[in-house]
Symmetry: C2
Subunit: 281 residues, 2 copies
């Protein structure tokens, strides 16, 4: 899968690209069948919603779940990102966000690279966000909202919001959002399960609460150019990974056939993955 | 303005009717120009959002604001409701809901008639909800969501939610919502400022938070058939009105010309309007 010149120009201008139905229902089912088991586990990798037992985000499943380990090596996702950066990539972060029916709470306006540079000392915004829909995303179940073109601002000053939801986030003030929206508007790509979005690490995004009876589970992962690896291990390893090995892709049918994958955390997360405040090796 | 047989059949089936751009921008401006003054006042009629100073809902402006007093007598709104009930109507409740940019919080799934019958002892669901958009309503600023056909269920058991937001509400449980949505889906009428929705007192509705930089101020009022007036004054009068006088409409240009209107609370809300727990006279 090669991005066209038109797609590359659009990514540069808008800060995102949307690929509806990139994965088939059969491929998605392999992933969604695994989610209840992952969400049921009581481990720090499962962050739950404020005032509810619903999972808000699950971290690092690609290290202990075979279907997600194969997704993490999928050429339909990896190849275009390698093309954009013209360099091999490693997995910086891997999340399965719940945004569950009725309980899914808001994510305030933020940029991801702001956190990566401040907390992880990632040198440049050469890491790509990838969203893969495991459920249909519609106007009612809290779709991801983007401000097109906002990635051109680079890192925008942000304040640490530790009260709105159960997951602390560096969020952007209202005046700045109003200005950015006046220029770029808001878009919310919607589509069937199996759709994928690539979006720039500096693209400002948010999502509202999900009051609908439809789950909106999505994989959100970040692929970082290998030379741009993080320089500080301030956050736990299950959130910001420390293994900078270039991802080797599997064949295109890897979600449907049992290609072998390493599952280093299959028998439990190593204690070291919970350590914080370390300098990079 | 007469509803057609087709519109009446649609209202019966779906529980709502949508009239895009029923009021002109010039008419809407008369109303929106008045809102900041109303929202700035510190009186119990202004309920503010949890954890923010933004107004969530303002009550009874038709009794102390001239533009809204004229809106409350507008034939484009009153006549179709009188037609549906085949009877004169009085103003049961009058709100200007903020759903302000960034701060507007959710309204969980509920029916209005559930409150009217339980708290106010309103005999039947012969009261119509009216929503008039004072701002454009789009997919990003927390549009009202309906479950079409849900009004056919009559009063659905509900629990009193006093924690989610700053305004207590009788809300419906998740399993029931999931069943109703499986039958009727969800719709969210969107359109320019000046649009109007009529919806049945038993129609199940909700709205999400507004993370956008666009206010979504709407007038929500309830017109009750006069013979169906409430039988108990449990809630304060500024929330559930006790004056059952039939509304006499003004001419169609009443928002643009200074027809005289009574403003009984112009110099302050009477103490009696804050009293609760009274039996009807």
């Amino acid at each position: 899968m090669r991005l066209t010149a038109e797609q590359l120009a659009r990514f540069d201008r808008d800060g995102y690209l949307f690929f509806p139905s990139l994965f088939t229902p059969e491929e998605v089912k392999v992933l969604t069948d695994e989610v209840p088991r992952l969400y049921a586990v009581r481990r720090p990798e499962n962050v739950r919603e404020k005032g509810s037992d619903a999972v808000r985000t699950n971290f690092a499943a690609h290290l202990y779940s075979e279907p997600f380990a194969r997704l993490a090596r999928h050429p339909r996702m990896i190849d275009p990102v390698v093309q954009v950066f013209d360099e091999a990539v490693y997995m910086h972060q891997f999340k399965i966000n719940g945004k569950m029916a009725f309980d899914g709470d808001v994510w305030q306006w933020h940029q991801d690279y702001g956190t990566w540079v401040n907390d992880d000392l990632m040198p440049e915004a050469r890491a790509m966000n990838v969203a893969i829909f495991l459920d249909e995303v519609n106007e009612f179940n809290g779709p991801l909202m983007f401000i097109p073109g906002s990635h051109k601002q680079g890192v925008i000053p942000a304040g640490h919001d530790t009260s709105t939801t159960s997951y602390p986030l560096w969020t952007i003030d209202k005046d700045t959002i109003a200005q950015l929206v006046a220029q770029g508007g808001i878009v919310a790509p919607k589509g069937p399960a199996g759709s994928m979005i690539l979006f720039h690490g500096c693209l400002v995004h948010a999502s509202t609460s999900n009051l609908s009876p439809w789950n909106r589970v999505s994989v959100y992962l970040s692929l970082c150019a290998v030379s741009n690896h993080i320089r500080r291990f301030k956050r736990p390893e299950y959130i910001a990974h420390r293994d900078f090995t270039p991802i080797a892709t599997l064949p295109d049918d890897c979600l449907l056939r049992p290609y072998p994958v390493d599952l280093p955390w299959k028998d439990g997360t190593p204690e070291s993955a919970y350590e914080t405040g370390k300098a990079a090796a």
